[in-house]
Symmetry: C2
């Protein structure tokens, strides 16, 4: 443990991405869901990261996380190469083609939770096999709020295991296409209601689902409550990679900071999540998140409010 | 003139639509841009309609407009058949295929403005040839606020005429794909800024553009101001036909009612427009707008506020 006790733990991937967009190209850039999540969350809390990397993960890469005071005790380094992904975006950035996926050390990922992390109250189970998500969660002694992300691959290939772990979490953060696939409902209101039924009962907060709609924003449901946060309109978007993970990082980071999980705070968490996603896409890879300031976040929060608020 | 002096004049189409959706089918339903616009606007103002119909437009159809106190002095009936359109929606309602278009009497449409309409302060130039839009506008003596809609057909086929009439209007209400085609900019913030440059200067309000993004909502720009109103999340969507025209009707109707065109009122006009669009799609054709109540609008306005507002 390098810093203060980490109250927010994320498990996911740390990877090297090769990204092609209409505006540029970047090879072997530090990426992965846990990287984007923890960089975004670090503006609100001290996240601790549970992931695996290979020998190609250098001190320079480590320094990127340490600069943001991210706790890396749970970041295991093993023999071999790190997870590598290559993707290319369409001219409008709305579609992407995976050029290659090399799981490498990620294939045998067996998450180990440092003793200090077991007291964390806020937990985010990033997009890995549902059985691993469950294994991580079982080691956290008294979680106050558990969020989960998943993807089509697990919805199709590990359906039962996914349904099992969903019963243990409070919040599912999911793409619209994944929500539709999971529920077999095209309509997102119907899909949201079905997902709430999947999350089970008797949690710390009422079951909550946050559906991410890419550049269009997010829609959050909880009981009779719903909230919409648009994507922040940007004149220059360079690289959508990591926007969804940055959303989750801002969302969970804000909740971990305030230690308040009321609906009003979940609404604000959606806004901070959207804001972190909007910064993420302004540069290639994690560059923008690495150089962001708290003042910029504060300014954009005010702009976001002006964008959506109206008087009665 | 059947009612009070009409302070809001709309020119556009009155048509018979044959609509197929995954949830049902309706043949020869009263439709057209001016119909949806004026039905939606009628909850706020007394719209007067400038359009042409054929002999197939019966007293029963007329009654639908009269029930909502829509002024039909500018609705000309001529020999022949009314404009007819047939369309079929995909399973997700996001794509539609035109099955047939019969212009009929609309082909020779030569809009005639009743003398009483020439004093109207609020004018909406629906989606017709830009030269006809200009002809209508030239007959309005002292317009206070002029809105315009157009479509790809005119952006491609009457580009110069469209640019000419744009210089005379205050507000362009346009789909995202049309905004992109008009400006050759994919990014909507860039597209919005370019459109503001096209609308010219020295108007009653600063040049304003409202970009409609279908189910995702609308984005409004004016100088340094912008505002986002999401599509209201609905569990049951039956027929998207007329949603954009209903938005424009609610938007212009609210402004005509309040006679206030400040940015704060334009924001609320966007919300009322979104609300009218959300009601429109809840039933086939114009059915929902025909049977809507002011109380339902008021209730949804409150729901809309809860959906988008958050505390600092």
């Amino acid at each position: 443990m390098q810093n203060n006790l980490s109250n927010l733990v994320v498990v996911g991937s740390v990877a090297f991405d090769s990204i092609k967009t209409p505006f540029g190209q970047k090879d072997n850039a530090l990426g992965g869901s846990a990287t984007y999540f923890s960089l975004a969350a670090s503006f609100f809390a001290n996240p601790g990261i549970v992931a695996v990397v290979g020998e190609d993960f250098t001190d320079n890469h480590h320094q990127i996380l340490k600069n943001r005071k991210i706790d890396t005790e749970g970041l295991e380094k093993v023999k071999g190469k790190s997870f590598r992904w290559g993707g290319e975006y369409s001219f409008d950035l709305n579609n992407r083609k995976t050029l290659f996926t090399e799981l490498n050390v990620f294939e045998q990922f067996n998450p180990k939770i440092p003793a200090d992390y077991t007291n964390a109250e806020y937990v985010f189970l990033g997009n890995i096999h549902p059985l691993l998500q469950q294994k991580v969660l079982s080691q956290i002694k008294k979680p106050k709020l558990v969020g989960l992300d998943t993807m089509n691959f697990w919805i199709e290939g590990a359906h039962k295991e996914l349904l099992d772990v969903l019963k243990l979490v409070d919040i599912l953060i999911i793409n619209d296409s994944e929500a539709r696939e999971l529920t077999k409902e095209y309509n997102l209101v119907k899909a949201g209601k079905k997902i709430i039924g999947m999350l089970g009962e008797a949690k710390n907060i009422p079951p909550t689902v946050v559906i991410k709609r890419g550049e269009y924003g997010v829609l959050a449901f909880q009981n009779g409550n719903w909230f919409f946060a648009p994507g922040f309109p940007l004149e220059d978007v360079y690289d959508p990679t990591g926007a969804g993970d940055s959303f989750a990082g801002g969302f969970m980071g804000y909740l971990a900071k305030t230690k308040d999980t009321s609906w009003q705070h979940l609404q604000r968490a959606c806004v901070y999540g959207s804001i972190m996603g909007s910064f993420c896409v302004e540069k290639m890879g994690t560059e923008r998140l690495q150089n962001l300031t708290n003042d910029e976040i504060k300014t954009r929060f005010g702009e976001f409010k002006r964008l959506t608020h109206f008087e009665e």
